[in-house]
């Protein structure tokens, strides 16, 4: 602009010179006639107006300046928003990976899991091998069907010794049904399910991780052999890195059914060890398939009443089965995070409203000086953008960290059974996060923009600026705070209920004393201990050696530890006519001292002792549930029971081999903590030994400290024994699915509730403080007219009290439906537990009252003279 104007003046001057004026005179006249350059520039600038980019830059600079000037507002807003966004986005990530993103198998809707059912075992039992063969032969609804052994584990022997590895045996079509092809090598050849298990060749396909770990990721792995369970298996393929199949966990070695050839379990229909998946034929509905498998199961029940009587069948879509358990949990967490986000938004809106009230003067001035509505809105947009951008960046960063942290908190074996949770960031989550951010930004823009009374901007210029706007903010702010309090109440109630659930769960009567109990699982090599005398001798040696270790008071063995579940068997009762029913009970095999080690409660009769060995008559101990169910009103001691078809020892079943009941114990929690008591029968290990069992020792000192010496002693006895899972009993209980789940839920819900409480306390404080500041004059007048301090307190606290009361009542009415919604997650607690609701209500009321007390005190300390003078 300067160049242009000077050019004009100089050219004019030259023209004047040409027309005869002296140079100096010409220049002077030119400048004079033009008028002031600076004034001309100003007028030009005004005429030109401000370009959009310039106005943007101005707004950004101004916005940053204003935000810096009120650090309290800025920090609070940014922190609040980031908190809400972080919590919601982190949970959204999990919800997306688990619930929204489908499992990575093609044509998922046609993929089914097929199960057996039984009254005791539930709706998702496995198939026995002979039943599976029946299914393959007789079904008319499946295009392809495959089975895998659900118990998965092999002993790998290599130069470094013996290692326990995760593995699964499978029929040949499993990977084809899942739509997976090995990334190296080939899949198993299609092998129509052969009844001769030995015909399945000893081949194995490695998982990607196993390939890296055991073979160094070298491409020459095909054709190499690996020794599993004492036999040599040839590697024929490697699975892709991304492959996951939740029911098999983190299986590293996928073999044919060869390892199970010769296992008696696989020949009997009583051993339901196989998981079955299948693909529906074209045009077949789930109902048709269900009817078909049920018909097959009914046929089996007729033909093989021992043990298939009372066993039905079930079909469920694979995704529903794999993800079913976790759905309500994730949805509850999502609800909690959503409520927290709501509170964050409400809080931020409140802060914005207060701030825009304080800036009314500024905006009125700008409006009067010529700023258009669009320009002022642009100001809000820019300011909003800065704050929202900062909080989103912070929030998303925190969400990523939180997610990683949460994943680390889940124990490895649990995460293996939920591989879908590991899914990374994807566009779903990005879209959700963007939506959240946009909502926040809209709030930031709309709230002050709507509050500006454009029609009467000059009203804002009046000193003090009170009036209609002041009271309407109080009403709006009050409504917002009520909403916050109600939401916080719901979150607190949820956290309280979940917390009490956790407490009830951990203190449920387990029938034994879990403290000072150290445990270990071990497996003796089959080759050396296949004879029962050898197995019995080994157990005796282990028990006596461990007993002599320092710090150990008692040693016992059992096939399974409490809380982890036991296999089922079916029994009959000698002397009772067989009415065709099967009595399914849990079956534990224990050493003589086991129940005393556990400190179980003996109700009648006696425990096992050293005389209950192979030469003595077979005996059994039953638990109270079994006694109540099958011997109501009588003394079971002395009565006899027998196995219907004993899974691994079919030769000892039937009424010809009765077991005498020698004792009754109070229920020990053999199944999960939150399951109802089930009947269990205990038999002595010397009368039915096995190569693998768990060891439980009672210690006089810290249980964890004896674990290393346990492992060392066992390895001294025989270095070929594989041990794993060394842990104290309390650890095992905490790590069990039920306890862990409730723990996580309670902590997360507690976290949400605490944050919500903090935020709404701040909200209450804000509203009351603002109201007090607006009423300073009124308070001054009251005090000048003789009101006492206490009446001022009462005035403020009454206002606060109303807010709290309404919020509380609304919250209570919301807590009860929330509790009902969550009832599947609760244990031992009613959805409307009065004690919990009362307690959390008290917490809420107390913190809200505390928050109101501070501004009330400020009101009471108002100097009436100052208050009156300032207006």
């Amino acid at each position: 602009m300067d160049t242009e104007l000077r050019f004009h003046i100089e050219t004019y001057a030259e023209d004047l010179v040409r027309s005869g004026l002296p140079r100096q005179e010409a220049t002077r006249r030119a400048r004079l006639e033009f008028g002031g350059i600076e004034r001309a520039k100003e007028e030009c600038r005004e005429a030109r107006g401000v370009t959009f980019l310039e106005s943007l830059a101005q707004d950004i600079r101004f916005g940053l300046h204003m935000l810096r000037k009120s650090p309290g507002f800025t920090t609070t807003t940014i922190l609040t928003l980031s908190l809400g966004i972080a919590a919601t986005v982190a949970i959204l990530g999990f919800v997306d990976s688990a619930l929204i993103r489908p499992l990575p198998y093609p044509n998922l809707s046609r993929l089914m899991g097929v199960f057996k059912t039984s009254p005791l075992g539930g709706q998702h039992l496995g198939y026995s091998y002979p039943d599976y063969l029946d299914l393959v032969r007789s079904n008319r609804v499946f295009a392809s069907i495959a089975a895998y052994d659900g118990d998965g584990g092999f002993v790998l022997s290599d130069a470094g010794g013996v290692h326990l590895v995760n593995g699964t045996g499978m029929t040949s079509d499993l990977f084809r049904i899942l739509g997976v092809t090995p990334v190296l090598g080939r899949d198993f050849a299609t092998n129509p399910a052969s009844e001769d298990l030995l015909a399945a060749p000893p081949t194995v396909i490695l998982s990607y991780a196993a390939w890296q770990k055991w073979f160094g990721g070298k491409p020459d792995v095909l054709g190499k052999t690996v020794t599993l369970n004492g036999e040599s298996y040839t590697v024929i393929g490697v699975l892709p890195r991304s492959f996951e199949f939740a029911p098999a966990g983190a299986a590293d070695f996928w073999t044919t059914l060869h390892p199970y050839a010769g296992e008696p379990c696989y020949l009997s229909r009583g051993c339901m060890a196989m998981g079955v998946i299948a693909r529906l034929k074209e045009g077949v509905t789930i109902q048709q398939a269900l009817a078909d498998v049920r018909a097959i199961a009914a046929q089996e029940a007729r033909e093989h009443p021992d043990p298939d009587r009372n066993r039905g069948a079930n079909i469920a879509p694979l995704s529903q089965w794999i993800l079913g358990d976790i759905k309500p949990i994730l949805l509850a967490l999502l609800g909690g995070a959503g409520l927290l986000l709501l509170i964050a938004y409400v809080n931020v809106t409140g802060l914005l409203l207060v701030r825009s009230e304080n800036r009314r003067h500024e905006f009125a001035m700008r409006g009067v000086l010529g700023a258009s509505r669009g320009r002022l809105t642009q100001q809000f947009v820019i300011e909003g953008f800065v704050v929202v951008a900062a909080s989103s960046a912070l929030g998303l960063f925190a969400a990523a960290i939180t997610r990683r942290l949460l994943l680390k908190l889940i124990p490895a074996d649990m995460l293996d059974s939920m591989p879908y949770l590991r899914g990374g960031w994807n566009w779903h989550v990005t879209a959700f996060a963007t939506a959240l951010v946009l909502i926040a930004w809209t709030l930031f823009v709309m709230t002050p923009a709507l509050r500006l009374p454009f029609a009467s901007l000059h009203a804002g210029l009046a000193e003090g600026g009170r009036g209609a706007a002041g009271t309407s903010w109080r009403h709006l702010g009050a409504k917002l705070v009520v909403l916050e309090l109600a939401t916080t109440m719901v979150l607190l109630a949820g956290a309280g209920l979940l917390g009490k659930s956790l407490y009830e769960l951990l203190h449920v009567d387990m029938g034994f004393d879990p403290n000072h109990l150290a445990t270990l699982w071990m497996l003796a090599p089959e080759a050396k201990y296949s004879q029962s005398e050898q197995a019995i001798a080994l157990q005796r040696e282990i028990v006596s050696r461990l007993q002599s270790l320092p710090g150990i008071t008692a040693v016992g063995t059992a096939r399974d530890l409490p809380v982890t579940g036991v296999p089922s068997t079916q029994i009959g009762f000698v002397g009772r006519p067989s009415l065709g029913e099967t009595n399914e009970v849990g079956h534990q095999v224990i050493s003589a001292g086991y129940l005393s080690v556990l400190k179980a409660h003996l109700l009648k009769g006696r425990y096992f002792n050293e005389y209950d060995n192979t030469n003595a008559p077979s005996v059994a101990i039953i638990n109270q549930t079994l006694a109540r169910r099958y011997f109501p009103g009588e003394n079971p001691v002395g009565k006899q029971v027998f196995y219907h078809q004993h899974g691994s020892a079919p030769e000892s079943s039937g009424p010809q081999h009765p077991l005498e009941i020698v004792g009754v114990i109070a229920d020990v929690k053999e199944y999960a903590l939150d399951e109802t008591a089930k009947p269990v029968v205990y038999t002595p290990s010397e009368q039915g030994p096995g190569p693998s069992f768990c060891i439980a020792v009672r210690t006089s000192q810290e249980a964890a400290s004896v674990l290393p010496s346990l492992i060392a002693t066992i390895h001294k006895i025989d270095p070929g024994i594989v041990t794993s899972g060394a842990a104290t009993m309390p650890e095992i209980i905490q790590r069990s699915w039920a306890a862990y789940l409730h723990c996580v839920l309670a902590w997360l819900a507690g976290g949400f509730a605490a944050l919500a409480l903090m935020l709404s306390t701040i909200g209450v404080y804000g509203v009351i403080a603002y109201s007090v500041s607006r009423r300073t004059r009124e308070i001054g007048v009251r005090m000048a007219l003789g009101a006492s301090l206490s009446s001022v307190y009462r005035l403020i606290l009454k206002e606060a009290g109303w807010l709290i009361l309404i919020g509380l009542v609304t919250g209570l009415s919301g807590s009860i439906p929330a509790g009902v919604f969550m009832s599947s997650l609760l244990f031992g607690v009613r959805s409307w537990d009065v004690l919990i609701l009362g307690a959390v209500a008290a917490v809420l009321v107390l913190s809200a009252l505390l928050a109101s007390y501070i501004p009330a005190r400020r009101a009471a300390s108002v100097n009436p003279v100052d208050a009156l003078r300032s207006e």
């Binding site: 242009e4 104007l5 050019f7 050219t11 001309a40 007028e43 005429a47 030109r48 107006g49």
Partner: protein
């Protein structure tokens, strides 16, 4: 019939650029009488557009040309030219670019845009309409009322 009514209607719509007045110097037919005329700001804009429509010019050149085509009867106040030019540029009727003047100095040249051309036509039409209407009013004799 209707078209002429519309045309009449258009004439009565004054330029809505506000009511600022620009000082022009009317130099009279023989160059000696110096009367200062007050004309609407919109009129100056029209003159500038016309001047530029005859060929791209820098600010000083526009001044000279208006003087020239009015046969030295009209001289625009120098201080009011440049704000007008910036305003017209903002409204999109002229466009500017830097170039080299006759005396080899850097100068900003303005030219008419397509929208500006249309604007000039409209303004010219309005001006002529208005002139007709006012002239007719002024011709009214007492007998015609």
């Amino acid at each position: 019939m209707r078209r002429s009514n519309m045309a009449l209607l258009q004439c009565f719509l004054l330029d809505s650029l506000g009511d600022k007045y620009i000082l022009l110097r009317y130099l009279g037919d023989n160059g000696s009488v110096d009367k200062q005329l007050e004309l609407l700001q919109g009129t100056l804009d029209m003159l500038i557009l016309k001047a530029v429509s005859l060929g791209p010019l820098h600010g000083y050149g526009i001044l000279l040309r208006i003087q020239q085509i009015s046969r030295d009867r009209l001289e625009i106040q120098q201080g009011s030219l440049y704000p007008a030019l910036y305003r017209l540029e903002r409204q999109g009727w002229i466009a500017s670019e830097w170039g080299e003047s006759e005396n080899k100095r850097k100068a900003k040249y303005y030219r008419l845009t397509a929208a500006g051309k249309r604007r000039l036509q409209t303004e010219t039409h309005n001006w002529n309409c208005m002139a007709d209407v006012i002239a007719e009013i002024l011709r009214t004799t007492p007998e015609e009322v």
